[in-house]
């Protein structure tokens, strides 16, 4: 456990805390910051590593920044690095939210202006989610399968079926579809349907 190891852990924790706190937009908006710190400034990651990181972050479930942190942390400093980077991602949320929650434990304001402000923010979030859904749809709707599954899933969700079950049912469906396409001999492009 020499000094450079601890320094790496600190850089991992600090950088990912910074990324989690400051990078808005979610998803792969974090990529340029990771590249700047770990590839250009410190030369710890190569371009191939960054591609691997992107692949991993998009393949496994969970918060994308956290998935990226797991890859970079493990790559640079093993299990310790992974934990340092992952805790870095959690750090801003946990500290800031705990302070806010301690002040507003009930979240049921009575002041009409505060109520109005919350209503305004909810309307704003509605707009943000709608645009996110639209962009996601443009990338996802590459074929009939995707459109049909989306409509079916939306119907099930509106029927108040537990989303966990809907996802679990979609997994075998996707596998069957992938094998069916393979036997039909459709060219499956690498990375298709993932970006």
């Amino acid at each position: 456990m020499d000094k450079t190891y601890w320094k790496k852990l600190w850089v991992l924790f600090f950088t990912f805390a910074k990324i989690a706190a400051l990078v808005v937009g979610g998803g792969l908006a974090i990529l340029p910051v990771v590249e700047e710190t770990f590839s250009r400034k410190n030369k710890w990651l190569t371009q191939e590593d960054l591609l691997e990181m992107t692949a991993l972050a998009q393949t496994i479930p969970g918060i994308i920044a956290c998935n990226a942190a797991v890859y970079v942390g493990t790559k640079l400093a093993g299990i310790g690095g992974m934990l340092a980077a992952a805790f870095g991602v959690c750090f801003p949320s946990v500290t800031v939210i705990m302070i806010i929650a301690a002040f507003f434990p009930h979240l049921e304001p009575s002041n009409p202006y505060v109520l109005g402000a919350f209503a305004g923010v909810r309307a704003c979030i509605t707009g943000l989610i709608l645009v996110t859904a639209y962009r996601f749809a443009k990338k996802t709707f590459t074929g009939r399968f995707e459109v049909i599954v989306t409509i079916l899933a939306l119907f099930l969700l509106l029927m108040k079926i537990n989303p966990v079950y809907v996802i679990l049912c979609a997994m075998p469906l996707g596998i069957v579809y992938a094998f069916w396409r393979k036997t039909r001999g459709d060219a499956v492009l690498p990375g298709e349907g993932l970006k």
Binding site: V24, L56, V94, I97, G116, A123, C124, T126, F136, A153
Partner: protein, 199 residues
């Protein structure tokens, strides 16, 4: 709820949340608002609003807040830690073989099946929020269906369009789609506009 139950619940959410923070919204609503009834919809809407304005990924913020409301300090810690545990485990497993995993037909099939569901969940989250901002009550889907097939149930009394909410939502959507304006600025402006328009 005790911290361990929160940990397990959010670990489950972490396992199935493909595709970003908004996917968590339907999961939390189904489990904590509808099934257990421990949080009401209005509180949840405000909670997501705060999660969106504070620094940190939306999903992580929302998880921490729900954890705090349900189990105080330890609840908040166990919820946010629960949410990242699946990515720690799966990330370690996939670390050495991610290139091979990506080529694997099974993995690809799973992702192909899951993506449209994630999209549906984001649309679902949008519908839920429409019912809390642009409209004054949750969208009555069965009522709409009956009206469409001509059984004329009509819309419930309390279901009206909120003009202020509609204006804010529309302006935000257009700005977010067409310009590079920051979401934080949009939220702050919406809060100010809402204080005057949505009372």
């Amino acid at each position: 709820m005790n911290p361990f139950a929160l940990f397990l619940l959010f670990a489950k959410f972490g396992c199935v949340s493909f595709g970003g923070g908004y996917v968590l919204i339907p999961l939390i609503i189904n489990e904590l608002v509808e099934k257990r009834g421990v949080i009401n919809m209005e509180t949840f809407g405000n909670l997501v609003s705060i999660a969106q304005v504070t620094p940190g990924p939306v999903g992580m913020n929302a998880a921490t807040y729900v954890g705090y409301l349900q189990g105080g300090f330890w609840g908040a810690l166990s919820a946010s830690f629960g949410l990242i545990v699946p990515s720690l485990i799966l990330g370690t497993l996939a670390f050495y073989s991610i290139s091979r995993w990506r080529e694997n037909l099974w993995v690809r099939g799973i992702l192909q099946g899951v993506r449209p569901v994630s999209l549906a969940m984001i649309f679902f989250a949008a519908f839920l929020f429409l019912g809390m901002s642009v409209f004054t009550a949750p969208i009555p889907w069965s009522g709409l269906l009956k009206t469409l097939i001509g059984q004329g149930a009509g819309l419930p009394e309390n279901f009206r369009l909120s003009l202020g909410g509609f204006a804010i939502c529309a302006v935000v959507a257009i700005l977010f789609l067409k310009t590079k304006v920051s979401t934080t600025l949009l939220i702050v402006l919406s809060a100010i506009a809402g204080a005057f328009l949505c009372r």
